[in-house]
Amino acid sequence: MIELPEEGAGHVEIEGLVAGYEGARVLDLEGLSIRKGEFLSILGPSGCGKTTLLNCVAGFVQPTAGRIVIDGTDVTDRPPYRRGLGMVFQNYALFPHMTVAGNVAYGLRIRRLGRAERDERVREALRLVGLEGYADRRPRQLSGGQQQRVALARALAIRPAVLLLDEPLSNLDAKLRGEMRVELRAIQRRIGTTMVFVTHDQEEALALSDRVAVMNGGRIEQLGTPDEVYRRPATRFVAQFIGAANVLEGTVADGRLDADGILFDPGPLPLRPGDRAVVAIRPERIRLSTHDQGTDGQGVAGTVGYRAFAGDAWHVEVRLANGRTLTVQVADTGANSADPPGAGSAVVAHWDPADVIVLDTGAGGDTGAGG
């Protein structure tokens, strides 16, 4: 029998989870603590182990070491059908031979709920995802977005302790994704179920989550709120994966950071001359001025390599004197704003020292994992 979770349950502790073989470890997690009621995104590029992590929690993959504890119970050795979790898949995985109501009721039937209660729960779940009138439809009669909502309703109907979502919005087009994102967050807030959301889309992760775990090579590089992860990335990888970042390495000299010939004010940092530092600057924080606009002596000189219009902003690549390039994002401020300087123009790139993100300092500084 499956234990039905009590209200407010959904706390997951993952300890020392290892999957894969020596030398080819797919997952090598020290630990992860998921709070009850939170929306946690697991973000990372393909092959970082995020799907394996989810599959371990779900029970489809047996880890070679480690424990998974849900609400105080060690479920590591339990099969997927005895963990009390819900799951939503990227390709919806609706049962084609059942109606929408049949799909949603599937888990309820297994739990031997009485007919009346079962019907009520199905109605409630469909109401939650906004598909009340669709109970008798078949999955193939529904659009992608509707199918995903049914999948969600089906997983939530059983009132799982934790809901796992494996890139559920990846099959939808961009506009629909945006809409579903909002709905998903609203639903989660309303019912308070812990949700673990795997995605490779950082925009999604930042928009939806209470916390984000950024994974790379089987390990979590940083776990923090979207704000923390974006503004104070702990490692170079996180900095470059979330938003884009221009990463510069340099040595402190004369109160300035000398990064391969680029001199700039590193901002308020307790650095002594000779210290090394690795810093990052977000593209949208760099402003470009042409010579006649004048700068206040700050900034780095360079030439525009190319520029591309992306609708809400311009992406400009600036080549610096020392051969490096800076990626700059210039917001399009309206119909009357000027386009940024064209290819070949001489520009000065400058930014507010406060916007400099410090990734690493000195020799043997903290790597900053865990924010």
Binding site: I2, G59, Y81, L85, N91, P96, H97, I110, R138, A155
Partner: protein, 287 residues
């Protein structure tokens, strides 16, 4: 498509069409004509037209009895094949592509690579008085004397089922292999164990494959005669054997032709009805 290309396309198909028409349709039509010929006292065909051969087929128990027996046998064999094919197809479908899967697949198809006579003779050897089965029966004390396994109807059913099994395994494997893995996972996350997932998800969704396999085996079993003949002997009440018999021993070709066409018509009719029934059932199930 431009007219020239259409004609060119026909030119490529023409040899095949001519081949089929000349070597398949023409003899079939000839045989059909023959089934309406009267016979003399020595059973040689005479010119003329008569419905007597068909009358014989439908009124003499020797003939129409065999048609009904054949129908019953084919249904039985189709059912057995599907039931036996399912586990094999399940295992085969779950294997991911690789050396093991290829090996299993070859094992499944290998019976088809040998002649049906060779396959059937294997059964004759197995089931004979001195064969492995009987020796086992006697050795274990289940019987004190070898049983007459050959020329018994159950042996015929077993041998025919074995011979036709690959034809059920292959479509079933395809159907099972085409199932989305996530469906099984979804079922499990919803609390269904392996057995329930199998019954509620796998089996219903594999139905199209089951139906295909069953229909193929049914159609083949309706016409099969070599295996029943070798294993069961010429006395087995199957239409195919009786056709063979009419040609080989009695030399009465017109009635053999009539029986053949009656069998053909029965097979076509049954297959159509079965396929239709399955389609209705599927529609009710899947909507």
């Amino acid at each position: 498509m431009t007219p020239t290309r259409r004609w060119a396309g026909l030119a490529y198909v023409a040899p095949l069409v001519v081949f089929l028409a000349a070597l398949f349709l023409v003899p079939l039509v000839e045989l059909f004509r023959l089934s309406f010929s009267p016979v003399d006292t020595y059973n040689a065909a005479l010119p003329g037209f008569t419905l007597n051969q068909y009358k014989r087929v439908f009124t003499e128990p020797y003939f129409y009895g065999s048609l009904l027996e054949t129908l019953a046998t084919a249904l039985l064999v189709a059912t057995l094949c599907v039931v036996l094919a399912y586990p094999a197809a399940y295992v085969l479908a779950r294997r991911s592509a690789g050396a093991m899967r290829t090996l299993l697949f070859v094992i499944v198809i290998s019976p088809l690579l040998t002649s049906v006579v060779v396959r059937t003779y294997g059964w004759v050897v197995l089931l004979s008085g001195n064969g492995v089965v009987n020796r086992l029966l006697v050795a274990t004390g289940l019987r004190d004397q070898p049983a007459r396994l050959l020329t018994s109807y159950p042996s015929v059913v077993i041998a025919v089922t074995h011979v036709l099994l690959p034809f059920a395994i292959i479509p079933l494997t395809t159907a099972l292999g085409g199932l989305d893995h996530n469906l099984h996972r979804a079922s499990q996350t919803l609390g269904a164990g392996p057995v329930r997932t199998f019954l509620r998800v796998t089996v219903p969704l594999s139905l199209p494959g089951v139906v295909t396999g069953a229909l193929i085996v049914f159609a083949l079993a309706m016409g099969i005669y070599i295996t029943p003949l070798l294993v069961g002997g010429v006395t087995q009440p199957l239409a195919g054997i009786r056709v063979y018999d009419q040609v080989e021993t009695v030399f009465n070709y017109p009635v053999a032709a009539a029986l053949s066409f009656a069998l053909l018509a029965l097979t076509l009719l049954s297959t159509t009805l079965l396929a239709g029934a399955f389609r209705i059932w599927e529609r009710r199930l899947h909507g």
